[in-house]
């Protein structure tokens, strides 16, 4: 009896989500101890308990505000995928297009998005559009980079194999190139979705009267640090959940991928 319960406990402790959770709890304890030990005033760093209180009082407001942020994130992310993947295909498919487009894309990455975000407000007004664009601008680059890498990493022998069968462009794309690039594309999508959260918040910082970014801005202005920390926690949660959803889709879309292949091996 006792041994089975110990074993169950051991299995729970060993499961992949317990470890980061344990670390998180440790960090929160450390945070609490630090705040108490050095008597840090709550207008600089609130204690964890203050943040929990803020959740209790302003929970409904925070949850309501996270809806537009999440929607903007998903919108920007989907746009990143819809534009980034075909763009990666074009760049990987043609040296000419690559030589024109790639340097410009890299160059555009060094433009700080926070600096140009107000421009979108001027162009598109307050509301959803500037946030989605801001999320897209941050999210699209990793999709392009990893997509290009995925499409380009095809074994030359594999290309010759398809050609030796007289495969049409569409056949070799659907049967060989696209599936081959999928693991890299998904790696890019996972980075993209977390960056899209940042992009949406940046969009809300500069021109919005809704969303968690707006809450962050306002609570800092009013020295409501517990609320601000609560909003931060919520933002992190949104990022984690979206990342996890993309990860889940990956498992279904490309179950054969190396990072998922552990189960059974045959030798002969």
């Amino acid at each position: 009896m006792a041994t089975t319960s110990v074993r169950t406990l051991a299995r729970i402790v060993d499961s992949p989500w317990v470890r980061p959770l344990g670390l998180l709890v440790l960090l929160i304890v450390l945070w609490d101890v630090t705040v108490r030990l050095f008597a840090i005033p709550p207008y600089l760093i609130p204690a964890p308990i203050d943040v929990i209180k803020a959740f209790r009082v302003e929970g409904p407001m925070l949850l309501a505000e996270s809806v537009p942020t999440t929607l903007a994130t998903i919108g920007g992310f989907l746009l990143s995928a819809a534009i980034g993947i075909p763009l990666a295909m074009l760049i990987a498919g043609s040296r000419t297009i690559e030589s024109y487009l790639y340097p410009l894309l890299v160059f555009s990455q060094s433009i700080p998005k926070v600096a140009i975000a107000p421009l979108f407000v001027v162009w598109f007004g307050f509301g959803m559009t500037p946030k989605v664009i801001s999320a897209f601008l941050l999210g699209v680059f990793p999709v392009i980079v990893s997509g290009v890498q995925g499409f380009k990493s095809l074994d030359p022998d594999m290309r010759d194999l398809a050609r030796s069968m007289k495969a049409s462009w569409l056949q070799s794309f659907v049967m060989v190139k696209l599936p081959h690039a999928m693991p890299a594309i998904f790696a890019g999508l996972k980075v993209s979705v977390t960056l899209a959260v940042v992009g949406a918040v940046v969009g809300e910082f500069v021109g919005s009267n809704s969303g968690l970014g707006f809450v962050l801005q306002r609570s800092i202005g009013n020295f409501e640090l517990p609320t601000m920390f609560a909003a931060l926690v919520l933002l992190a949660a949104i990022g984690v959940i979206l990342f996890w959803i993309v990860d889940l889709i990956e498992r279904f879309a490309i179950p054969w991928h190396a990072s998922q292949r552990q189960e059974f091996f045959v030798t002969a």
């Binding site: 022998d157 010759d160 194999l161 030796s164 495969a167 049967m175 002969a268």
Partner: protein, 272 residues
């Protein structure tokens, strides 16, 4: 088992000596940004129907280039390749290729990998599915049809690749160092396997290898190439009766021939 494989009976023997592949004054120079890379000097070679020809040569001498030219994957700089009298200008239908790495699609099961040429060429599915299963069975892969390539050993993967090259029943099979990545024991087994396939199907096989014993063991003729830009240094007939067994490697004819071929490389450098 041999229902779907092309068998040769005594009646076909005279016809089997007919020239199937003719290589005429074939030259290849790769044009790169750093200048021209001459890879093949004029080559002339005839390969008969049902013949097993092995090509050995130092690395970089243009063996793969020769194979790609025959496969219609790259255009020649000069000269021509004729298959059944027709110039090769695009990948011919009657050819199957095996590369050094198995190049299997990781997202397809073994059976669906073997069926890939059938899908791409839009051949009749039902009859070829039966053929694919038979090929896998004779290759000792029965029961592995629904496994994925990564669940197989290197030798099994390469056997799958060979089945894929044979599935549309091509007259010609081109192989570019197909066993180069395998360990010595697996390699010997694959050699026996390949000999069996050749015996049973009478395919015309062009095998590129850097193993002289492998070439002599398998081939009717061994083509020896010189260093880059490659050309044919010599062609040897292998006068050993078939089927050959691994013990035949101790045969004086076998040792004498491998020794002679080896002499070509030690005269001016190494084989690999």
């Amino acid at each position: 088992m041999s229902l779907s494989l092309r068998m040769v009976n005594a009646m076909d023997e005279p016809k089997a000596r007919r020239r199937l592949i003719e290589v005429r004054g074939l030259e290849k120079t790769y044009r790169t940004r750093d200048g021209d890379v001459p890879s093949l000097k004029p080559i002339d070679l005839d390969i008969h129907d049902g013949e097993f020809v092995a090509v050995v040569g130092p690395s970089g001498c243009g063996k793969s280039t020769l194979l790609k030219l025959v496969a219609g994957l790259i255009p020649p700089t000069a000269g021509a390749i004729l298959i059944e009298g027709k110039a090769v200008t695009e990948p011919p239908d009657d050819v199957g290729i095996v590369f050094q790495s198995p190049v299997l699609l990781a997202w397809r099961s073994v059976l669906r990998n073997v069926m890939m040429p059938v899908e791409v060429r839009r051949l009749d599915r039902a009859s070829h599915l039966e053929r694919a299963r038979k090929l896998l069975k004779t290759a000792g892969l029965e029961g592995f049809e629904n496994k994925y390539p990564w669940q197989l050993s290197g030798g099994m993967q390469q056997r799958t690749a060979i089945c894929r090259a044979l599935v549309h029943d091509p007259k010609i099979v081109l192989m570019d160092e197909p066993f180069g990545a395998l360990d010595a024991l697996t390699r010997e087994r694959m050699n026996l396997e390949l000999q069996r396939i050749h015996q049973e199907t009478r395919k015309t096989i062009l095998l590129i290898t850097h193993s002289i014993p492998e070439a002599v063991f398998l081939a009717d003729r061994v083509v020896v190439m010189s260093e880059r830009p490659g050309t044919i240094a010599a062609i040897y007939d292998v006068e050993l009766p078939r089927p050959r067994s691994l013990e035949d490697m101790g045969n004086p004819v076998f040792s004498a021939l491998t020794q002679t071929i080896r002499g070509h490389f030690y005269a001016r450098g190494h084989l690999d």
